[in-house]
C-alpha cells in the first residue's frame, strides 16, 4: 500500500515571485515557504505519492533523485508537524 498525501483543505496559498505564504485557516497560523515548498504544496492540491512529489522537484531543479527524495521527506515531516497534510491511502 503506498501512502498518498493531500494538503489540508484549510490551506490557502500565495505565490510571491516564487516564494510562498501559506495560511492555515483551521489553526489560524501562517507560514512562509520556499519556492520548492510552495511547488510541493501546489502539487498536493491533488493526492500525491512520494515518488510523484520527488518528480515535482526533479522537473524543476538540477538535483539527484536521492537529494530530491530527502528534501521531500523532510518537507513532509515539517508539514505533518504543522498539520498541513491530510494522509490518504489508495490500498
Amino acid at each position: 500500500m503506498s501512502e498518498r498525501y493531500l494538503r489540508h483543505p484549510d490551506l490557502r496559498l500565495a505565490d510571491v515571485e516564487g516564494d510562498g505564504v501559506v495560511l492555515h485557516l483551521g489553526t489560524r497560523r501562517y507560514f512562509s515557504v520556499s519556492e520548492s515548498g510552495l511547488a510541493l504544496l501546489q502539487a498536493l492540491e491533488a493526492p500525491r505519492t512520494l515518488p510523484e512529489l520527488v518528480a515535482v522537484l526533479l522537473e524543476r531543479y538540477e538535483v539527484t533523485p536521492e537529494q530530491a527524495e530527502a528534501s521531500v521527506r523532510q518537507f513532509l515531516d515539517t508539514c505533518r508537524t504543522a498539520d498541513l497534510l491530510v494522509p490518504e491511502s489508495d490500498g
Binding site: D10, R12, A14, D15, V16, E17, D19, G20, V21, L23, L25, R28, Y30, S32
Partner: protein, 305 residues
C-alpha cells in the same frame, strides 16, 4: 444617501439616529447593500458558541450551523449574526449596550461593519494612510504601539494628506489596490502629543488618548489612497532608517496586520490575493522611526526614493 452608504434599520428612532450619525461621521463611501438591522431587546441573549477569534472588547464565533459569524461585545450584552455571504447583520443590543452606545459603536459595531465590508471586497488592515507632497500613496502598518498615529499626525502637520491612523480598507479596482479610510481623529498618547508639541485636541473617552482631526493639524483628509509605498515601522532611539524587504516578507507582515484573513474560508483566498497584489504594487520597507523625523518629516521620502 449622505456620506455613507451603510444603512441602519431600527425601530428605535433615537438609536437609529445615533447610529446613522456615527456612520455619516465616518464618511466611508461603502458599497451599496451593507445594512445594520438593529433590534433593542432585554431578552436573554445566546452566547457565542465557540470563540474562533478575539480582539479587545469583541469576540468572534461561528454562526448557527458553523456557517457565518456571530460577534459578541464584552462590555454589555450585544450580539450580531452575519450569515455566510450576507451583507446584512442582525444586531441585538441590550438596554445596557444602548446606554454605552458610543463605545459600542467604536468597538463592537465597527467590528460588525468591518466583517460586512469584507463580504463586499473591502479588506481591513491596521494601517495609517497618507499621500506625500509629490502624490505618492503611503501605507504605515503595524500594531498599536509602532508609531502609526504619531507618524500620521506628524505627516498631517507637515502638509501631507492623511486618511487614517488605524483602520484602512483595501479594495481591488482594476489592476490597482486602493485604500479607503474613514474620517476619524488621529488618536495620540501623551508621548506623541509631547513629541509633536500639540495642545488641544478632543479627549477620547476610554482610550487614554487625545484625538486630532487631520485638518486641525494643518493637513488634508483624504478618503482614498493608492499605495506606492508600504512601511512596517518600529520606534527606535537612533536616526530614522529604512530597509527594503522582500515581497514574501512583506506579505507575511500584511497577513499579521490583516488578521481577519483567517476568518470565513470562502473569503480568505481573495483577501490573501489582495494583500499579495499590494506587495507587487508598492515598494515595501522596514522602517525604524527616530526622533530626527520630527525635525525633518520628509526624511521618510528621502529614505525610500
Amino acid at each position: 444617501m449622505t456620506a455613507t452608504d451603510i444603512a441602519v434599520q431600527c425601530s428605535d428612532r433615537t438609536v437609529r439616529a445615533a447610529l446613522e450619525a456615527w456612520l455619516a461621521g465616518l464618511r466611508l463611501a461603502a458599497p451599496l447593500g451593507v445594512i445594520l438591522n438593529v433590534r433593542i431587546t432585554d431578552e436573554d441573549l445566546d452566547a457565542v458558541p465557540e470563540i474562533v477569534f478575539e480582539q479587545p472588547d469583541v469576540r468572534f464565533g461561528l454562526g448557527p450551523g458553523g456557517r457565518g459569524i456571530r460577534l459578541a461585545w464584552d462590555h454589555a450584552p450585544a450580539f450580531a449574526d452575519l450569515p455566510a455571504g450576507a451583507t446584512v447583520a442582525s444586531v441585538l443590543l441590550s438596554p445596557e449596550a444602548v446606554e454605552r452606545l458610543e463605545r459600542c459603536t467604536r468597538t463592537f459595531l465597527m467590528a460588525v461593519v468591518i466583517m460586512l465590508l469584507r463580504r463586499t471586497g473591502w479588506y481591513h488592515l491596521h494601517a495609517a494612510t497618507a499621500v506625500d507632497p509629490e502624490g505618492r500613496g503611503w501605507l504605515v502598518t503595524g500594531d498599536a504601539k509602532v508609531g502609526k498615529s504619531t507618524t500620521a499626525a506628524l505627516l498631517a502637520a507637515s502638509g501631507w494628506q492623511v486618511g487614517t491612523d488605524d483602520a484602512a480598507f483595501l479594495e481591488r479596482q482594476g489592476d490597482r489596490i486602493l485604500v479607503h479610510t474613514s474620517h476619524a481623529p488621529i488618536a495620540l498618547r501623551d508621548e506623541g502629543r509631547r513629541l509633536l508639541a500639540k495642545a488641544g485636541g478632543v479627549v477620547l473617552p476610554d482610550r487614554g488618548k487625545v484625538g486630532y482631526w487631520p485638518e486641525d493639524l494643518g493637513g488634508v483628509w483624504t478618503p482614498l489612497v493608492s499605495p506606492d509605498i508600504v512601511i512596517f515601522p518600529t520606534v527606535g532611539k537612533a536616526r530614522t532608517t529604512a530597509e527594503p524587504i522582500a515581497r514574501s516578507v512583506a506579505l507575511a507582515e500584511l497577513v499579521r496586520w490583516s488578521a481577519w484573513v483567517m476568518l470565513e474560508p470562502d473569503l480568505a483566498q481573495d483577501h490573501l490575493d489582495v494583500l499579495t497584489r499590494l506587495t507587487g504594487q508598492a515598494r515595501c520597507f522596514r522602517v525604524t522611526l527616530g526622533r530626527d523625523l520630527f525635525a525633518r518629516p520628509n526624511r521618510l521620502i528621502e529614505l525610500v526614493t
